[in-house]
């Protein structure tokens, strides 16, 4: 057997570098970055159909000074879809990570990511209920920008970006962190190309969901290709 005992001071740096290099190789081998992006992108596109084929619960309609009317709208079916869809996505992601890691001869830790994801879903649900209990504060006016920002941060689109940031931290994955930040900017800053303005209220969420979901699916394809190229043949 090779004893390979090394002198203390001189080789300490080399031993540390070796250990860091090995830890990094394990983290790279554990990555299945395309999977969460694909699962969350699919959930995002599924939401378009739910918004299209279900109707919000509308109440307290008032005339809008700019014409037409402004109402309170609660998208109950969509809300339930998001909770169920996101929890299922996290289950699929966790199972996928465990399976791929096992096939590569490794274990992996998915619990912090899944717990964060589910905590964000619960936070999102609590904010939704609180909004109902507080009887739609600011109605019929638009909430202040900071409140709007915070609501967007914990809604399904924002929570997806936060969960991806946690995954990037767990994997020490700089490229995913950059992607998640880019995604959050797109999800939190309302983008309006003028699409869907005359499509009716059931398509109102469509453009933003197409942009968010499209970005996730493109990211998934990009990370899958990058992983394929980097893997030794």
């Amino acid at each position: 057997m090779t004893s390979d005992v090394v002198p203390a001071d001189g080789d300490a740096r080399r031993l540390l570098d070796d250990a860091r290099g090995l830890a990094r190789r394990v983290r790279v081998a554990q990555r299945v970055t395309w999977l969460p992006l694909l699962a969350l992108g699919v959930v995002m596109f599924g939401a378009i159909l739910v918004y299209r084929f279900t109707d919000p619960i509308v109440s307290d309609c008032r005339p809008d000074p700019l014409g037409g009317q402004v109402c309170r709208a609660w998208f109950l079916s969509a809300q339930i879809y998001w909770w169920v869809g996101l929890v299922l996505a996290y289950v699929v992601i966790a199972a996928g990570y465990l399976r791929v890691a096992r096939d590569r001869g490794l274990g992996t830790r998915v619990r912090p990511y899944v717990v964060t994801g589910i905590a964000l879903v619960v936070a999102s649900a609590l904010v939704g209920f609180a909004w109902q209990l507080l009887d739609y504060p600011y109605f019929p006016d638009t909430p202040p920008p900071l409140v709007t920002f915070l609501i967007r941060l914990v809604d399904a689109s924002g929570a997806t970006g936060l969960a991806l940031l946690v995954l990037a931290w767990l994997e020490r994955h700089v490229a995913l962190a950059v992607f998640a930040l880019g995604y959050l900017v797109v999800a939190l800053v309302p983008i309006n190309f003028g699409w869907g303005e005359n499509w009716g209220s059931n398509w109102g969420m469509g453009p933003q969901l197409v942009i968010n979901g499209g970005l996730l699916l493109l990211g998934s394809a990009g990370f899958a290709l990058a992983q394929r190229w980097r893997r030794p043949r």
Binding site: M1, T2, R13, L15, R25, V26, G105, G107
Partner: protein
């Protein structure tokens, strides 16, 4: 720092060794690692790796679990609590050594 305080004095010969430190590092990062992955990453023969694993298992730093994936026999290696402590101790002492070498070098300039 007196001679007895020198970080090299606390190094455990069992762990202060490139291959065994590598095994513990990989097992810690992966939570659980298969024999084949270790052999490939550490560029060892099966026999050589087995001997290192026996030493670590005898010392209670790792646990070996044998099983099957289909018809293929597989051995999984998991770090024990003393193994995690030994790894943390070794890494801490190596960092102290590096810091000490850096400080000495700076003072000599």
């Amino acid at each position: 720092m007196t001679g007895s305080d020198h970080p090299a004095n606390g190094l455990d010969d069992l762990v202060h060794q490139r291959i065994r430190l590598g095994i513990l590092t990989i097992a810690h990062e992966a939570r659980r690692v298969e024999f084949g992955f270790l052999r490939t990453q550490l560029d060892l023969t099966g026999g050589n790796l087995s001997q290192h694993l026996t030493v670590l298992e005898t010392a209670g730093l790792v646990e070996l679990e044998k099983g099957y994936a289909g018809k293929r026999a597989r051995t999984w290696i998991t770090l024990t609590k003393p193994g995690r402590a030994a790894l943390a101790d070794e890494i801490g002492r190596l960092k102290q050594l590096v810091a000490r070498v850096d400080t000495t070098t700076t003072e000599e300039r």
